[in-house]
Structure formats: structure tokens, C-alpha cells
């Protein structure tokens, strides 16, 4: 590693590194993303390293553990060779065979191939996997090419060339113009035009300014930012340096939530590497620019994802939001002008500078440009991270990329935007992913979480879930949020317990509106969205709970009971033996019965019964 001193120096280093990558060895790419990590991909990688050493084939095989590819459902994922043979659910035991085939020129291991459920046929190459075909991967594509722990990989694929272009050729105002022209909007949730934010911050009074990267991804079900920060931290760093140049900041912070220790580690390593190469610190690329980044950790508070609370937390205090009568771009961190942007927003900046505003503007819809990474999860076949152009319909994402529902169940709704967002019914799946369209319909793009729900999800229960979450995470400072969310939860809980009344519906709407209008910060302002959107589109479920004391999806415990189908029960006593409450009676080979007074519907018997004889009513 040596300091890069100028844009020309950077170009020659990049060219050299790119040439080194092209070394004729067979490349094994193992996805190191969050899903694959949890499926123990690092055990697979270690096994590869060990066997390569034992067999002395270092000259023939190269291993690269990269950032998240997105197909978490099928992890651990391994790509082999230039044609990118696609293996999924790879285990350490498979490594020997894979290495044998790689070194001896070809051959495909059938059992490790992906089977397309709609055709029943196996797919050999990554390019043919349907999950990837409907996507427009830009950031995720970069993820697949780099080892996040290697700045050399990032340089080899042209990393930091956007920074070189900016420092040698673009005045700060020009950078802001370019970003504004691209149409980039904040990808953390609010969708505020990024260029406008930077311009306001640049114009704000003061010499000392800050840029902050909001990596406090707190929306449950969202892990896009984790995928980027862990998978390709240099893209974020490069984006932040460019932003700092545009705004006039000399210091930056990356605030990472505490629950992402690996992201913290990768970010720290990347920052250190950038410093060693002279890409952070003084006189960057000989331009005279001074800029450095510090990594800061959150400590378990969802509210710290709100930008004013985040800045208070950076100052070492409790994350209580401040009123936004004065915007952070004028008075933020330590009362100085501050630009807070999301991880994904920062990561898009280098591509925009490299390829130009019109390239970016050519992707997406009229008012929502570029791509968005979504975390596709829930009751859908293919879960993971997907990157789509704005304008892609929900149906495409759920059916073509997601592969449709599980076990042939019918999909009922998608929930977008986390606890600040709303639920949209299947009838609206032809809507595009677009900031304004979804907001108009009562939901939002939000951070990018997209949870699929099928007929087994109770929408009233979903509303209750989000209200419980928000009640737990509310900072508690202001009355509408603290007391309002508590009362909304009280009412929705009563409905799920069969104590709902018809007058609860207008009350939920009235209170919801009050909480939205009167709360101090974004958490409170968007807290009623899950309730209001489910009331809007799934009124029939609320009515069933209130008027008929019935939960159509069979979820709300007070309104269901478990029973054993006498036709199917063969008296094997499997359920009886596992029931923690002793609620099941019966002799061997005799039909069993459940005592509903003792049963607390924990669900253990459901999985224990091999005959599918236990049902929920």
C-alpha cells in the first residue's frame, strides 16, 4: 500500500490492479452477505482456503469472498469460473468436489444447481437465474465484484475514479448541479432531493460543516444498508468525500447501528485502508482537500435513525429528536450545518459522477430516478436483497423476482416502508415503486423493506405489531406520540381480543390523524400509517374482528382455538408428549382431544403432529 498522490497516479494504480485480477486462475466467488453469513458461508470459505493450500493449487484457483449478492434464500452461494456457474446451499463438504471440477476444467455438480420452481428445471449460470433477470443491479453488481476487506478490489473496478474526476475537474457547485440534475432522492425513507439538500448546506452560514452517513437502519425487515456497508464500504466512503467537497465539510461521521457489528468492522477497516492510500486525511489526490471520517456506533434505539436524534446521539446524549423548525442543513451537529444522508444515497454518488446525470436520469420514472435496493422478505419464495429500477411494479417484484407465495398460498398484501409505511393489497400490485405514487396511496417506499404477506397474516395483528414496535421505540418526549400510540395500541389490541366496538373505527382514524399532525418528529408523524392503511384497504378484517369476533387468518389467539381432527388423528401421542401445558388428553391409538381452557396456542403441537391432524379454527 502506498499513498496515491494524484489522479494520474490513481489511474495507473487502478490499471495495474485490474490487470492483476485477470490472472487466468479459476475464480471462486463466495457471497459474504448477511444472509449467507448466517448460513455459515465463512465455514465454506475457510474450507476452500484449507483445501487449496493442502492440494497446493494456489496457482490455479482464486477465492474471493464478496459483498451481498442478494439471493439470501439460497445461501451460501458460490459462483465458479468466468461463466459464473451458480451453486447454492453450498456446504463445506461440497468444497472438495467443486475444487476438483474447477482445476480439471469444467463439469457441473447437478445437486448444487438452482432449480427454478416454475419450470422444475435446473439453471447453470448466474445470468439465467430468474431472480436476477428482472433486476437492474448497479450497487449490488459492484457488491459481487469486490471483497469488502480489500480496497485493491474496489480500485481495480474503477473505484475512486469519480473522486479523481471531481477533484481535478469539477468545482463544488458543478458537483451539486450534477447531483441535482440526476434526480437522486434520499433513499433512507423521506426521498428528499439530494442535490437540493447539498445546495442548502453549502449555502448555510458557517465555516465548519459536517457530512453524516445514516447507517442506523432500524426498520425491522430491512437490511439493504447492511448489505452495502458490509459489502462495499468504499462506495459509501467515496460518496461521502465527494459530498464533503461539494458542501465544504472537513469531517464526516458514519453512524452505524450497534446491532451490525460486522458492518462497523468493515467500515473501520475500509476507512483505515483509505487513509493509508491517502484517500482520506490531508491533501487528497494532491488537491489540497482535507477530509476524514469517524465511525460511531448506535446503542439500540430505533429513534436514532431520525436525523435530529442521530445527531444528538453523535454528541453523546440520549437520542431525543429536536423540532425541525430549523433544518439540520443550517444547524445540525453541534449546531453547525450538517448533511445527513442514507448509506444507499451516498453509495450512488460515485456512479452518478462517473456515468453522468443523464445516465442516472435515464433509469426510473419521471420523478423517481435511478434504482432502489429492496429487502424482499416475508411469505414469499425468494427472499433477499433485490435492486430494481424505480417504476418496476410490485407485482414484478413479488412474482417474477420473488417467485410468488409459499406452499401455493395466496398473497394478500405487501408492507412497505417499515413502521412508517403502510400495507397495500394485492389488487394494487400493478403500482410502480415510486416515491410519490406510493405516498399518495397511503404507504411509502421508505428505506426499502418490502414484506410479503399471505392469507395466513392477520392485517389487524400486523397493525398491532407495528404499534407495539413504535410504542417501545418512541422516545416518549411528546404527548401525541407517547400517549397517542399507546391509545391506538390499546384499541387495536382490544379488537384482536374480541373486545372491539364499531365506534373504535372512527376513533382510530381521528386519533391517527391527530398523531400524524401534532407529533414532534418523523417517528410520531408516521406512526399511524400502518393502522390507517390497513383500515383503508382491509376494513373487512377489522369488521370481522369487531362484529363477528372472528379472525379470518386464524392468528389472533383470543379468537381461535386449536382442535384435533378426529378423522386424521391416529393416537400416536406425539403432541401429547410435547405440550408444555398438559392440555392434550388421549390414550395410545385413541383419538386425542385438546382442552381449550389449558391450551395457550404456543404452536408446538402443530409441528409435532406428523399427520397434520391439528388445525386452527
Amino acid at each position: 500500500m502506498h499513498r496515491i498522490t494524484s489522479p494520474e497516479n490513481l489511474e495507473s494504480v487502478s490499471r495495474r490492479l485490474a490487470a492483476e485480477r485477470d490472472d487466468g486462475k479459476v475464480l471462486l466467488t463466495v457471497c459474504g452477505g448477511p444472509g449467507c453469513q448466517a448460513s455459515r458461508c465463512h465455514d465454506v470459505a475457510s474450507e476452500v482456503r484449507k483445501q487449496v493450500k493442502d492440494r497446493e493449487i494456489e496457482g490455479k484457483v482464486r477465492l474471493r469472498v464478496t459483498g451481498c449478492h442478494g439471493f439470501c434464500e439460497q445461501g451460501p452461494i458460490m459462483l465458479v469460473g468466468p461463466e459464473k456457474i451458480f451453486y447454492c446451499h453450498v456446504k463445506p463438504e461440497d468444497v472438495g468436489e467443486i475444487l476438483h471440477h474447477s482445476v480439471n476444467g469444467g463439469g457441473v455438480i447437478e445437486r448444487l444447481l438452482y432449480t427454478d420452481p416454475s419450470t422444475g428445471k435446473t439453471v447453470i449460470h448466474e445470468a439465467d437465474v430468474p431472480f436476477y433477470q428482472a433486476q437492474t443491479p448497479d450497487l449490488l453488481l459492484q457488491n459481487r465484484q469486490v471483497d469488502p476487506l480489500s480496497i485493491e478490489d474496489y480500485l481495480a473496478i474503477g473505484g475512486y475514479s469519480a473522486l479523481a474526476k471531481v477533484l481535478s475537474d469539477m468545482e463544488p457547485e458543478k458537483v451539486i448541479q450534477e447531483v441535482t440534475a440526476s434526480g437522486l432522492r434520499g433513499l433512507g425513507g423521506a426521498g428528499f432531493p439530494t442535490g437540493r439538500k447539498w445546495a442548502a448546506c453549502r449555502a448555510a452560514y458557517g465555516e465548519e460543516k459536517y457530512v453524516v452517513c445514516n447507517a442506523d437502519e432500524g426498520d425491522p425487515g430491512a437490511f439493504m444498508d447492511r448489505g452495502i456497508l458490509e459489502g462495499n464500504p468504499h462506495a459509501v466512503i467515496e460518496g461521502m468525500i465527494i459530498g464533503a467537497w461539494a458542501i465544504g465539510a472537513r469531517e464526516g461521521y458514519i453512524y452505524v447501528r450497534n446491532e451490525y457489528p460486522i458492518a462497523v468492522e468493515h467500515a473501520r477497516i475500509a476507512v483505515n485502508q483509505a487513509r493509508e492510500y491517502g484517500l482520506l486525511g490531508d491533501n487528497l489526490l494532491g488537491s489540497g482537500m482535507e477530509f476524514d471520517i469517524q465511525i460511531s456506533r448506535g446503542a439500540g434505539a430505533f429513534v436514532c435513525g431520525e436525523s435530529t436524534a442521530l445527531m444528538v446521539s453523535l454528541e453523546g446524549k440520549t437520542g431525543e429528536p429536536r423540532p425541525k423548525d430549523v433544518e439540520p442543513v443550517e444547524r445540525g451537529l453541534w449546531n453547525k450545518p450538517t448533511t445527513v444522508n442514507n448509506v444507499e444515497t451516498w453509495a450512488n454518488v460515485p456512479s452518478i459522477i462517473k456515468n453522468g446525470a443523464s445516465w442516472f436520469g435515464g433509469i426510473g420514472t419521471e420523478k423517481s430516478k435511478g434504482t432502489k435496493i429492496l429487502a424482499l422478505t416475508g411469505q414469499v419464495r425468494n427472499t433477499g436483497l433485490v435492486e430494481v429500477a424505480f417504476g418496476t411494479t410490485i407485482r414484478t417484484i413479488v412474482e417474477d423476482i420473488g417467485g410468488g407465495g409459499l406452499d401455493g398460498k395466496k398473497i394478500k398484501a405487501v408492507q412497505t416502508g417499515g413502521p412508517s409505511g403502510g400495507c397495500l393489497p394485492e389488487s394494487m400490485f400493478d403500482l410502480p415503486i415510486d416515491f410519490d405514487v406510493l405516498q399518495e396511496k397511503g404507504s411509502m417506499v421508505g428505506s426499502g423493506g418490502l414484506v410479503v404477506m399471505d392469507e395466513d397474516a392477520c392485517m389487524v395483528d400486523v397493525a398491532k405489531y407495528f404499534l407495539e414496535f413504535l410504542q417501545d421505540e418512541s422516545c416518549g418526549k411528546c404527548v401525541p406520540c407517547r400517549m397517542g400510540v399507546s391509545r391506538l395500541l390499546e384499541i387495536v389490541t382490544a379488537i384482536t381480543e374480541g373486545k372491539g366496538k364499531p365506534e373504535h373505527i372512527p376513533l382510530l382514524k381521528d386519533l391517527g390523524e391527530t398523531v400524524t399532525e401534532a407529533s414532534l418528529c418523523g417517528l410520531g408523524k408516521t406512526a399511524p400509517n400502518p393502522v390507517l392503511s390497513t383500515l383503508n384497504y382491509f376494513m373487512n378484517e377489522y369488521e370481522a374482528h369487531i362484529n363477528e369476533k372472528r379472525c379470518p387468518a386464524g392468528v389472533c389467539k383470543a379468537l381461535i382455538h386449536y382442535y384435533i381432527d378426529p378423522e386424521k388423528c391416529d393416537g400416536c401421542m406425539a403432541c401429547l408428549n410435547v405440550c408444555p401445558n398438559g392440555a392434550i388428553y388421549g390414550e395410545k391409538k385413541q383419538v386425542h382431544t385438546i382442552d381449550t381452557q389449558l391450551c395457550d396456542k404456543c404452536g408446538i403441537c402443530l409441528t409435532a403432529c406428523g399427520r397434520g391432524a391439528i388445525a386452527v379454527q
Binding site: S474, G476, L507, E517
Partner: protein, 229 residues
């Protein structure tokens, strides 16, 4: 150098020193914006949200608490519109349902037009207005009490729940507490809470209330600054 700024509140032009809040400006002129957690000379909070107003910017209405909103030249404020009155009523309803055993809260409920309480009463003895915390921090600089925890678990307490030796025992916290005075008819038993509404007869109904101060008796309950003038 102009030390004053002029802004419009509900159609009336008012002048106020630079740096003062919209609430300060209104109270100075006798325009009643109901407020609960606000205390003059102590830092503002914006917690109770009773003092909310509409700030009209570029034709758009932004709702914010008037105690934290710094008055600027040419600002246009609506403090008594139908929308604001409805929001205040709903917030006051939440407050009285949470902590009905307080004269101040019953007073503010009437002032904001609450006629019925649609939620089951709870019997809390603190609404986290923060007056005690702020007076301890700002006036006496002791920081012996503070907000602990988050969300519905939040409460005001001492470090480690023990009175520290640096508590100055000034009792200002208790003096300013909104729960100090019980409702006029006496303290309410648990399970026997109700909306008092007695002062209703001495005030105008909210839809006729122009927002100008009528020096009502209710101001006493929460120490309305106008009452002391």
C-alpha cells in the same frame, strides 16, 4: 439595528423582540394560545404540543409548537383555526384520560373544548411535561432529576432512583408540578375518574372563542402567565 420583528397572528400584527418565541409574542398581546409545559424564563420544550399553531410558509401549513418556534419577520401564524382547535382538543383529551386527577389538566381540557373522553381513564400521576426537570437544570443547575427511559416506560427520577446529595432541596420541582393541585371537587379515586367540566360555564364555547384572553379562572390551574399580570 432593528431589535424587534413583526409577525401576523390570526390576522393581527404583533411586534416582539428578536429571538423570542411565537408563544411569547402572542401572550404579550393577550392572544391566548393554551400552553401547559411552557414556563417563562425556563428553556422551552415542545413536549405537550398544546401550544401548536399553523405556520404558513409558501402557502403550506406547517404545524409546530409555538413555544419552540422563533418569531421571524413576516411570519404568518394561525393559532385558532378549526384544524388547530381540533388537534388541541384531541391532545387535551389524551391528557385528561391519562391523568385526570389534576386541576391544571382538567382546566386545559375545558379550555381546549373537550366535552367527552373516548378512552378508558388511567390514573397516572405524571404527564412528563418536564417543568420539574427543566427548572432543576436551568434555574438551579443541579440536575438532580431527569427523564429516564423511553416511550411509555419514561419517568422522571433521580439517578439510581435515590435522591443525590447535590439535590438542593429547593422544592421548585414540586412547586411547579401540574399535578400538585387536585380537581376543584377534591381528589379522584382510582376507578372513579371523570371529566370535570365545571369551568365550562364561565368560559365561551370554543367555537366562539376569538382567542383573545378572557383572564379566565382556569389559568390559575396551570400557572398561566397572563394570570400573574
Amino acid at each position: 439595528m432593528n431589535q424587534y420583528v413583526t409577525l401576523t397572528i390570526d390576522g393581527s400584527k404583533v411586534s416582539t423582540p428578536k429571538g423570542s418565541s411565537v408563544l411569547d409574542a402572542a401572550l404579550r398581546y393577550g392572544i391566548c394560545i393554551p400552553h401547559l409545559c411552557y414556563l417563562p424564563t425556563i428553556s422551552e420544550s415542545g413536549a405537550c404540543r398544546i401550544c401548536i399553531v399553523e405556520n404558513i410558509v409558501n402557502g403550506e401549513s406547517i404545524i409546530t409548537s409555538s413555544c419552540t418556534l422563533v418569531a421571524k419577520e413576516g411570519m404568518v401564524i394561525r393559532a385558532n383555526s378549526e384544524k388547530i382547535r381540533k388537534l388541541r382538543k384531541n391532545i387535551a383529551e389524551l391528557l385528561v384520560a391519562q391523568a385526570p386527577n389534576s386541576r391544571a389538566i382538567q382546566d386545559i381540557a375545558v379550555k381546549c373544548g373537550v366535552r367527552e373522553v373516548r378512552y378508558p381513564f388511567r390514573h397516572d400521576d405524571c404527564i412528563l411535561c418536564g417543568r420539574c426537570v427543566r427548572v432543576c437544570q436551568d434555574l438551579y443547575q443541579a440536575r438532580a432529576i431527569g427523564f429516564i427511559g423511553r416511550g411509555s416506560q419514561r419517568y422522571v427520577g433521580f439517578p439510581f432512583d435515590e435522591r443525590p446529595d447535590f439535590c438542593k432541596r429547593c422544592w421548585a420541582c414540586i412547586d411547579l408540578c401540574l399535578m400538585k393541585e387536585t380537581p376543584c371537587d377534591g381528589p379522584m379515586e382510582i376507578g372513579q375518574e371523570y371529566l370535570c367540566g365545571k369551568c365550562e360555564s364561565t368560559t365561551m364555547a370554543p367555537q366562539f372563542d376569538s382567542g383573545d384572553c378572557i383572564r379566565c379562572e382556569m389559568g390559575k390551574g396551570f400557572g398561566c402567565t397572563r394570570h400573574n399580570m
